[in-house]
C-alpha cells in the first residue's frame, strides 16, 4: 500500500523531529529533578523555566502567568475550578456554550452537582456563539464565562475578543479553551483580553501528556494538586521535564511557522471543500465557510453513517475522524453537530478531515479521487439513498 495519508491532526499530531531532538537530552543526560540543588537539578530547572518563557512569549503572556499541566483536559478542569474559587464571593453561575469540549462540559456538569448554575449558550447554524447572548446571560452572580476559541469538530472560530470585553465590563472572569487554536491562528492573551487560556502540546506537534494553563496575574490561584512547591505550589509533583521542554520547543516553532501554515493549510482546506462539494452530491459543509480553522474540513454526507466512511477510508490508506455515534461510544451523534441544528441522521454521516503541514496537494487529490468512489459504493448499499442517486 502507498504511504498512509494522515488527516486527523485535530485528534493529535506527530511530534516534530526538532521537538523530539530537543527533548531527548532530558531523559538520560540532563535528567535532574528541577527542585534539586545540585548541578543537574539546576540545569533541569533552567530548562523548565526556558520552556515556560517560550510558551509565554508565544501567547503574549509573562512567564509567571504560565502553569504547566498534563494536557488540555487538565487545564480546562483547573481553569473552571480555580476561576469559580477565585470568584466565590460573586456567586455560583457559569456561562459556557453547547459546543465545548467534554473537558469543559463535564466539568460544568460536575460544578452543577456542587451547587453551581450553568448556562449552556446555543450556537447558530455555523457554530457561532452570539456575543449578545453572552451579555444577556450574565447575572449578578455570574462568576465565570468559558467559551472555546476554536471548535475541535467543525473548526468554527468564536469572537473571543468581543466576549472578553463584555466579561471584563461585567466583572466576570473569562476562560477560553484554545486547544485547537494554538499553532493554528494567532493567539495573544493580552490582545484578546482573556483571563485564562488552556492549551495542549500534542495538538501542535509537541508530545502528549503536557499542556499549559495561562492565568492572568492578579487572579487568585488555587491548588490543583497538593504537595511540593512545583508550579508555584499550585500543581505539585515533579515536573515532566522532557515534555515541558517539548511543548516549549513545539510552540516556538508553531508560532514562527504560522504565516506559512495559514497559507498552505487554507489553500489545501479550500481545495478539499471545493473539490468534495463538486464531486459528491448532497453533502454539506459543517461550520463556517471563513470563520474556521485553516486546517479543518467537516462535511456531512447524506444517507451514510460516519464509521462506515472512516473504515473505508482507512482501507484506502486515509486516516480521518467522524462525529457519528458509532465513533463516540454513545448512541447519539456529536453534540456539536446536533447543536448546529443537524438532524440525527445527517449528523451520523459526518466526516472530519484535519490537515497538517505534512499533507501535500497530491494527498488532497488522492482524497478527492477516493472519497467520491467510497461514497458511491456505500450509497449503493444504503436503503436511505434515493433512486436518483443510485
Amino acid at each position: 500500500m502507498n504511504k498512509v495519508i494522515y488527516m486527523d491532526n485535530a485528534a493529535t499530531t506527530a511530534t516534530r523531529p526538532e521537538v523530539l531532538e530537543a527533548m531527548l537530552p532530558y531523559f538520560g543526560q540532563t535528567f535532574g529533578n528541577p527542585s534539586s540543588i545540585h548541578g543537574v537539578g539546576r540545569e533541569a530547572r533552567k530548562a523548565v523555566e526556558a520552556a515556560r518563557k517560550q510558551v509565554a512569549d508565544a501567547i503574549g503572556a509573562e512567564a509567571r502567568e504560565v502553569y504547566f499541566s498534563a494536557g488540555g483536559s487538565e487545564s480546562d478542569n483547573w481553569a473552571i475550578r480555580l476561576g469559580c474559587a477565585a470568584m466565590s464571593k460573586k456567586g455560583k453561575h457559569i456561562i459556557t456554550s453547547a459546543i465545548e469540549h467534554h473537558a469543559i462540559l463535564h466539568t460544568c456538569e460536575a460544578m452543577e452537582k456542587e451547587g453551581y448554575r450553568v448556562t449552556y449558550l446555543p450556537v447558530d447554524e455555523f457554530g457561532l456563539v452570539s456575543v449578545a447572548d453572552v451579555e444577556n446571560a450574565i447575572c449578578d452572580d455570574t462568576a465565570l464565562i468559558t467559551i472555546m476559541a476554536a471548535n475541535n469538530e467543525i473548526g468554527t472560530l468564536q469572537p473571543i475578543k468581543e466576549i472578553a470585553e463584555i466579561a471584563k465590563a461585567h466583572g466576570v472572569l473569562f476562560h477560553t479553551d484554545a486547544v485547537q487554536a494554538i499553532g493554528a491562528i494567532p493567539v495573544d492573551v493580552k490582545e484578546w483580553g482573556v483571563d485564562m487560556l488552556s492549551m495542549s502540546g500534542h495538538k501542535f506537534h509537541g508530545p502528549k501528556g503536557i499542556g499549559a494553563l495561562y492565568v492572568r496575574k492578579g487572579i487568585r490561584m488555587s491548588n490543583l494538586i497538593h504537595g511540593g512547591a512545583q508550579e508555584r505550589g499550585f500543581r505539585a509533583g515533579t515536573e515532566n521535564l522532557p515534555a515541558i521542554v517539548g511543548i516549549g520547543k513545539a510552540i516556538e516553532l508553531a508560532v514562527a511557522e504560522l504565516p506559512e501554515y495559514t497559507e498552505k493549510m487554507t489553500a489545501l482546506r479550500d481545495r478539499l471543500i471545493d473539490g468534495l462539494t463538486e464531486r459528491i452530491p448532497e453533502i454539506r459543509l459543517n461550520g463556517h465557510r471563513t470563520k474556521r480553522l485553516p486546517a479543518n474540513v467537516n462535511i456531512s454526507i447524506r444517507y451514510l453513517e460516519g464509521e462506515s466512511i472512516l473504515m473505508r477510508l482507512d482501507l484506502a490508506g486515509i486516516e480521518a475522524s467522524s462525529g457519528s455515534a458509532c465513533t463516540s461510544g454513545s448512541l447519539d451523534p456529536s453534540h456539536v453537530l446536533l447543536a448546529i441544528g443537524l438532524p440525527h441522521e445527517i449528523a451520523h454521516g459526518s466526516l472530519r478531515l484535519s490537515l497538517g503541514m505534512e499533507n501535500t496537494e497530491e494527498e488532497v487529490e488522492t482524497v478527492l479521487n477516493e472519497l467520491p468512489k467510497i461514497v458511491e459504493n456505500l450509497r449503493a448499499m444504503s436503503p436511505l439513498t434515493p433512486a436518483y442517486l443510485r
Binding site: L304, E305, E307, S308, M311, C326, G329, H344, P383, L384
Partner: protein, 124 residues
C-alpha cells in the same frame, strides 16, 4: 477492534441489493440511531432461495447484515427463524461489546422479512 471476518464482510459484503417482487421484505432500525437494515427474501417451497440486503450503518451493521444473509440462504423458513444474533456474531468471530446491538438488528431484519412473507402467504 474488529475481527478479520467482520472486516472482510464489511469490505466485500455479500448479497447487497434488492429483490424485485420479493416474497417478503422487512426494514428494521432507525436512521436517528444510525442504523437501518432492509432485507428481501425470495421463498420457494418453504426454502429461502435468495436474500438481499441494504444497510445504513457502521461497519458492524454492514458485516452482520452480510453474514446473516449468508446464514439463511438455502435454509427453510423454520431454520431461518431459529437464527439468533449470537450465532451471527459468533460466525463473525465476535463483535466488540458496544456493537452487539448491530447483530440484533440482523436477526430482527430476517424475522421481519419472514413475517412479511408469512402475512402475504398465509398457511392453509
Amino acid at each position: 477492534m474488529y475481527s478479520e471476518k467482520v472486516m472482510d464482510h464489511f469490505a466485500n459484503p455479500r448479497n447487497v441489493g434488492e429483490i424485485e417482487g420479493a416474497s417478503g421484505s422487512g426494514t428494521v432500525g432507525n436512521a436517528k440511531c444510525g442504523d437501518i437494515m432492509k432485507m428481501d427474501i425470495q421463498v420457494e417451497n418453504g426454502i429461502i432461495v435468495d436474500v438481499k440486503f441494504k444497510t445504513f450503518g457502521c461497519a458492524a451493521a454492514v458485516a452482520t447484515s452480510s453474514m446473516a444473509t449468508e446464514m439463511v440462504k438455502g435454509k427453510t423458513i423454520e431454520e431461518a427463524l431459529a437464527l439468533t444474533n449470537k450465532a451471527v456474531a459468533e460466525a463473525l468471530d465476535g463483535l466488540p461489546p458496544v456493537k452487539m446491538h448491530c447483530s440484533l438488528l440482523a436477526e430482527e431484519a430476517i424475522h421481519a422479512a419472514i413475517e412479511d412473507y408469512q402475512k402475504k402467504h398465509p398457511q392453509g
